[in-house]
Amino acid sequence: MHKKIIRLTLGALLGMTLLNSCKKDPLNNLSNDESRIYITNYDTTASFSAYATFGIADSVDYIQDNQFVGRDRTTFDSTAVTVVAQMMQQRGYQQVAVKSNPDLAINVSRVYNTSTGVFSYNDYWDYYGGFYDPYYWGYPGYGYYAPYAVGVYSIQTGGLEIDLLDLKNAASNNNKIKALWTGLARGEQVFNSANAASQVNALFQQSPYLKK
């Protein structure tokens, strides 16, 4: 009888283990599109209608583990930059040359974090001056600062990051170039050029306040 109890117990435990191993895996039930998430943050004190012009860097920064690797302009990069510019124009802002003192600056980045396994917006932002020299925007000696932070998310893949910066008030912000809006797209095939436009579009769609 004891042997029978042991056999039945082991059988039940085995059954439970097998059932647990064949639990519905949510990842197997996601398309690439469904795997992607879009995170936006904005400065709730900002008045977006107070800005008229924007400039956008025509290349994309490639940032690996908080290190600036280089500037790039792949098909994905140029599509993302073009669509960001189009979306800003649709929202009533006028595009001007980078050196023409735009009210708003836009940086587009491809961010890869592989060493920590964790993506924290603060880490990215802490090194921001190393990725984007304020001189590029005509503000040498200025620093960057974001008045908000996003949460911490597990990451194994990269993310598309779009940052909207306040150049208009940089001097009155204690020589700080303040982030007004940031958008982050993450997930499967996030850097596939076929997905660039829809991802930028998604980030703007969930930010209706971002308009002239």
């Binding site: 109890i5 039945l8 059954g15 439970m16 064949c22 639990k23 709730t44 597990s154 990451i155």
Partner: protein, 204 residues
């Protein structure tokens, strides 16, 4: 005719004697379960869990009362279409959210059969113990897993249908309410209603 009558009486007495003996054997039962979330659990997942089972041993104290140990497994899952979730302070996240919960309640149980004999024997039961919970929320492909051990309390009622008069093997059909407190994601419980069907067999 009279010979046949004596034979029938003898067989009946023998069967009853065996049954009485069998009813004092340790019982093993295994059941298939379907569990339906209730309360604030429904805010996280409202679809039933079709992957579930319970298995346990029950030791007869007398013809009607049994005490034992039970282990169960339930797998809940639900995917929600893409939606923008506002996190406050200017933060918004657009994601397809998938919620996944597995519960493994390990309970001390007591069952009481309302009748000693009969083709259908109603029973009631209670159980209490530990609920091992694995809860995970996916935003797109990014998840935030939690594993906890919490209290579990079960009340159940059902019927036993003995498969023969001379063995204690019986079909077991019934329903249960599983109280499962929890505190995360704004959920204060993972309680659920369950229905089960299975078999109870004696171990000699």
């Amino acid at each position: 005719m009279s010979t046949m009558k004596y034979v029938l009486i003898a067989v009946t007495l023998l069967a009853l004697g065996t049954a009485a003996q069998a009813q004092h054997d340790l019982q093993f039962n295994i059941n298939y379960n379907v569990n339906i979330p209730s309360g604030s659990f429904r805010d996280f997942i409202d679809k039933p869990a079709y992957k579930g089972f319970t298995a346990g041993f029950a030791y007869p104290i007398n013809d009607q009362l049994r005490v034992g140990l039970s282990a169960g497994y339930n797998d809940y899952y639900q995917k929600f279409p893409r939606q923008v979730y506002s996190e406050g302070s200017g933060s918004d996240i657009s994601a397809v959210v998938s919620n996944s919960v597995q519960q493994i309640p390990i309970l001390l149980t007591a069952d009481y059969t309302l009748t000693k004999k009969g083709f259908v024997r109603p029973y009631v039961g209670v159980g209490a113990g530990v609920n091992f919970i694995s809860l995970d929320q996916y935003l797109g492909e990014f998840d935030d897993p939690h594993t906890n051990g919490k209290l579990a309390v079960r009340g159940e009622a059902g019927i036993l249908i003995p498969l023969s008069s001379w063995k204690a093997t019986a079909l077991r059909i019934g329903g249960s309410y599983n109280y499962a407190p929890y505190n995360s994601y704004g959920i204060n419980n993972l309680s659920n209603w369950g229905i089960h069907a299975g078999i109870s067999v004696p171990i000699h």
